[in-house]
C-alpha cells in the first residue's frame, strides 16, 4: 500500500485497517480507523460489516480502494451497495492464484488489477505492471 499511495496525491484520504506495530505510522499519513485482524475468523468478518458501514456513512468517500486482505470484503461490498466507486489491487505477493479476498471482491469491484501476468483473466482482472 505504501508504494501505491503516491498515486493518490492530491486526494483526501482516510484509512481503515488492522491494528499493528505500524499504527502510529498509519495515523501520521491520514485519519485512520483500526480493527483487529480478521484472518479466517468468521465472527470478526461478520462484525466488520456494521463497523465498515458506520465508517462509510460517516466519511462518505467517493472511492473505496483496497489491496486486501479480508478487510476489503465488507468495505467493497458495502461501498457498491451505497453507490460508491471501488478499486482493488491484488497484493504483489499473490503470484499463482488470487487471495480469498481477491476472489470474493472480483465479481463486484469496479476496477481490479493483478500484479503478475499469469493471474490476469480477461476483462475482470487487468495486469498493467506491478509496483516494482
Amino acid at each position: 500500500m505504501q508504494q501505491i499511495l503516491e498515486a493518490f496525491d492530491g486526494h483526501e484520504l482516510f484509512f481503515a485497517t488492522y491494528y499493528s506495530v505500524r499504527e502510529a505510522e498509519v495515523r501520521s499519513l491520514a485519519p485512520a480507523y483500526f480493527t483487529k485482524n480478521i484472518g479466517y475468523n468468521l465472527w470478526r468478518m461478520i462484525k466488520a460489516f456494521p463497523w465498515a458501514f458506520q465508517i462509510l456513512r460517516k466519511e462518505n468517500p467517493d472511492l473505496v480502494f483496497s489491496m486486501g486482505a479480508e478487510i476489503a470484503v465488507p468495505f467493497i461490498y458495502l461501498a457498491k451497495l451505497m453507490g460508491k466507486k471501488t478499486m482493488y489491487i491484488e497484493s504483489w505477493c499473490r503470484v499463482e492464484n488470487l487471495s480469498l479476498a481477491g476472489k470474493l471482491v472480483a465479481p463486484v469491484v469496479d476496477e481490479m488489477w493483478v500484479q503478475w501476468p499469469q493471474l490476469a483473466e480477461g476483462k475482470r482482472t487487468r495486469f498493467e505492471g506491478a509496483i516494482l
Binding site: A7, H11, K85, C93, V95, N97, R126, E128, G129, I131
Partner: protein, 162 residues
C-alpha cells in the same frame, strides 16, 4: 553486514531466526536479526523484535545482503533499495503463516532472477544463498506502470463522479 528480517507478521518464524543466529557464529561478517514474533530469541547475533520504519530503512541501506521472509513489504523494500535479496518463505505446516502464499512470491522472484530462494533453512544453507546473492544484478526501475494506470483510472473516475 547481513540483515535478516521476518517482518511484522504475528506468527513466529523460529526456523529462519535460529538458522540466522547459527550463521552469525559461522561467519565473521556482522549479522543483525529483526526477529518479530519469534519464540526463541537469538543468542549470538544482534537483534530486535521490531525496528521503526526509519530504522529498518537504514538497516536495509547499510546491509550488504538482506535475508528475508517472503513478505511483500519486506521484499519490496530490499529490491527498491537495490539490495541482493535472499528469500525464505514462511510455511503453513510450521505455523509460520496462514497459508503458503509466500512460496508463490519466493518462487516468482527467484524465477525472475530478482532473489535467491533458500533451499535448506540452516546456517550453511543461508551461507550458500548469500554467496549466490552476490551475483544478482538488481536493475533500476522507473516509475512503475501500475501507478500510472492507477492515476489514469482515478482521473477518469473523478470525471464520472463530478
Amino acid at each position: 553486514m547481513i540483515l535478516v528480517t521476518v517482518g511484522t507478521h504475528t506468527q513466529q518464524f523460529d526456523r529462519l531466526v535460529s538458522a540466522a543466529d547459527e550463521l552469525a557464529v559461522l561467519i565473521k561478517e556482522q549479522v543483525i536479526i529483526q526477529c518479530g514474533c519469534t519464540k526463541a530469541l537469538p543468542v549470538h547475533a544482534k537483534f530486535e523484535r521490531f525496528y521503526s520504519p526509519a530504522e529498518m530503512q537504514d538497516l536495509v541501506k547499510q546491509a550488504r545482503v538482506v535475508i528475508a521472509h517472503a513478505g511483500a513489504g519486506t521484499a519490496l523494500n530490499s529490491l527498491k533499495l537495490k539490495k541482493p535479496l535472499v528469500i525464505v518463505p514462511r510455511e503453513k505446516r510450521f505455523g509460520e503463516s496462514v497459508d503458503d502464499h509466500q512460496t508463490q512470491l519466493a518462487v516468482g522472484l527467484a524465477t525472475q532472477g530478482k532473489a535467491i530462494l533458500v533451499e535448506s533453512v540452516s546456517a550453511e544453507g543461508l551461507l550458500t544463498a548469500v554467496k549466490k546473492a552476490d551475483d544478482i544484478e538488481v536493475s533500476s526501475t522507473s516509475q512503475p506502470q501500475l501507478i500510472q494506470s492507477l492515476r489514469k483510472t482515478l482521473r477518469l473516475m473523478e470525471r464520472q463522479i463530478n
